[in-house]
Amino acid sequence: MGESMLDDMLTRRRLLQGAAFVGASAFIVGAVTLPAPASAEDTQEAQDAPNAKGVQYGFLVDISKCVDCEKCVAACREANGIQEGQPDRRHIQHFTDSRGQDVTVSTSCMHCAEPSCLRVCPAGAIVKGYAGIVSVNKNDCIGCKYCYEACPYDVPRYTPEGMDKCDCCLGAGVAPGDVPNCVRACIFGALEYGPIEELKAKAPDAVLVAEINNPSCLIRNSISYASRG
């Protein structure tokens, strides 16, 4: 079945749903006061809840090991089918340390414990699922860009399909909790992925990227830490 036909059916179904809603009286009051019917995401989430076990996964980024090879960015683009001209999901930022040396840091979505993007999305297109992964349902995204303004980490990017960001390669077929392609591609060990509490225990010198929204991304400078130790 072609994508356009699917889109047509989706649109027709939505129109019918809408007509039913509008036909029923007091829609707005009902929407506010009554519990919302279970969505496909809710059902899926409930089914997979035992697998998630409430464990939040995240990234550990070691800035002393990043050599700016961009293999993580390339692997992400290839695995997720990001087309030419469309924005990266993973970004490498450059900084200069006190000795004038270039330091690079590779980050993507922080998969926050309390994601602002999810809270402000008017269409409910952003979900937090198993392994704490925050992902976008592009069929629901209207592209209002409110999530960009809400994200303290400057993460959401936009394509003609809607908001686009890291989903830990869920869309590329990587199971929740399995290692995403960017981490697999990092041959220098600058990126690690796993349960965030395990990563914290493994790297006690690592710090959260910031406090806001309790992000699932730790940053460390292992060489500096080792030399201090």
Binding site: T11, R14, L15, Q17, G18, F21, V22, F27, I28, A31, V32, A36, I63, Q93, F95, D97, S98, V103, V105, T107, S116, R119, V120, C121, P122, A123, G124, D140, C141, I142, G143, C144, K145, Y146, Y148, E149, A150, C151, P152, Y153, D154, Y158, P160, E161, G162, V207, L208, V209, A210, I212, I219, R220, N221, S224
Partner: protein, 323 residues
């Protein structure tokens, strides 16, 4: 570096939505005070409020990546943890009430309804009063919402304060009154503004401008004095500096402060002082003040959006690690 992800359409919507809401409130107040006078001014003002908010909503739709999905409101705005959801439904309700009020304020429509619907002859005036009151409530919501939308994003330090909805609300009322003033000057030959109504509007302008100056000053002072030791505080101060003395300062001082606040205040005071003079002079003074308020109110939204940059949280953390 300026905020550019939300461009001119949301900025213009924030202005048009606020102005439309304020104009409806002013028109509804004129109607509720004395429904036998200012019929044309009330009618045109209600239409202007409807068009203003309606065009604003169309601009928002045009900014979406998927405008058609956005039009299916029951699925596009069904997530009630978002202020945008409340705002979309509130603005939709407001534009509907504005439009019905405007139709009922239009003489041919009102006459047609009275001729075809007996109930309207008896209850039409009451219905219009109820719509005016409901419209005022919805207008107040829309005016507050334009600021809450930005504040509740919480990702932008400059916007993350209740002072922003306060500022946008006062500005919405101010620009709304200005729009009704412009309409009353344009319609002066057909529907002359009564001296008491003119005086009321000028007093309202003086009150609102003084209030707006206070809120704007406290807003800027709070942001300039934010804790620079934190990334969010430093960014809030940086954004406020852009307005106060940075790249946006010429527009801020020239268009917002001088044109949008000083000119309307001086003209409103002059209008009150000239109350015994001829209508022509008073109209000119009122028109200049009102146009200044509209220019300043519009520019305020553009500048607040442009200065709303994110805090460099990652950079702050990395710099703390590399020294």
């Amino acid at each position: 570096m300026l905020q550019t992800v939300w461009g001119w359409q949301p900025a213009l919507y924030l202005f048009l939505g606020g102005m439309g809401a304020g104009a409806f409130i002013m028109a509804a107040v004129l109607f509720l005070i004395d429904r036998t006078r200012h019929r044309l001014i009330v009618c045109v003002s209600m239409w202007a409020a409807t068009v203003s908010l309606g065009v604003g909503l169309m601009l928002l739709l045009s900014e979406l990546i998927h405008p058609l999905r956005g039009m299916l409101m029951w699925s596009a705005f069904d997530h009630f943890t978002s202020w945008m959801t409340y705002g979309a439904w509130g603005a939709f309700g407001a534009v509907a009430v504005f439009a019905i009020s405007a139709v009922l304020a239009t003489p041919p429509a009102s006459k047609w309804l009275a001729a075809h619907w007996k109930w309207y002859v008896k209850r039409g005036a009451g219905l219009r009063r109820v719509l005016a009151i409901v419209g005022i409530v919805l207008s107040a919501f829309v005016a507050v919402y334009t600021g809450m939308l930005l504040m509740d994003s919480r990702g932008v330090p400059l916007w993350d304060t209740l002072l922003l909805p306060a500022l946008f609300t006062v500005s919405a009322f101010d620009t709304g009154v200005a729009l009704v003033e412009v309409i009353s000057v344009v319609l002066g030959k057909r529907d002359r503004l009564a001296p008491k109504a003119r005086s009321l509007m000028e007093r309202i302008v003086v009150t609102l401008v003084v209030l707006e100056v206070i809120v704007l000053a406290v807003f800027l002072a709070t942001m300039l004095g934010a804790d620079a030791a934190t990334a969010a505080g430093a960014t809030a101060a940086q954004s406020a500096t852009m307005l106060y003395s940075g790249v946006l300062a010429p527009y801020f001082w020239g268009m917002v402060v001088a044109c949008g606040l000083a000119v309307p205040l001086v003209m409103a005071i002059a209008g009150l002082a000239l109350h015994k003079q001829k209508d022509g002079a008073k109209d000119a003074v009122m028109a200049v003040g009102a146009i200044g308020a509209l220019v300043g109110g519009c520019e305020l939204r553009f500048l607040i959006l442009a200065a709303g940059v994110h805090a460099p949280l990652l950079a702050t953390t990395v710099m703390s690690l590399i020294g």
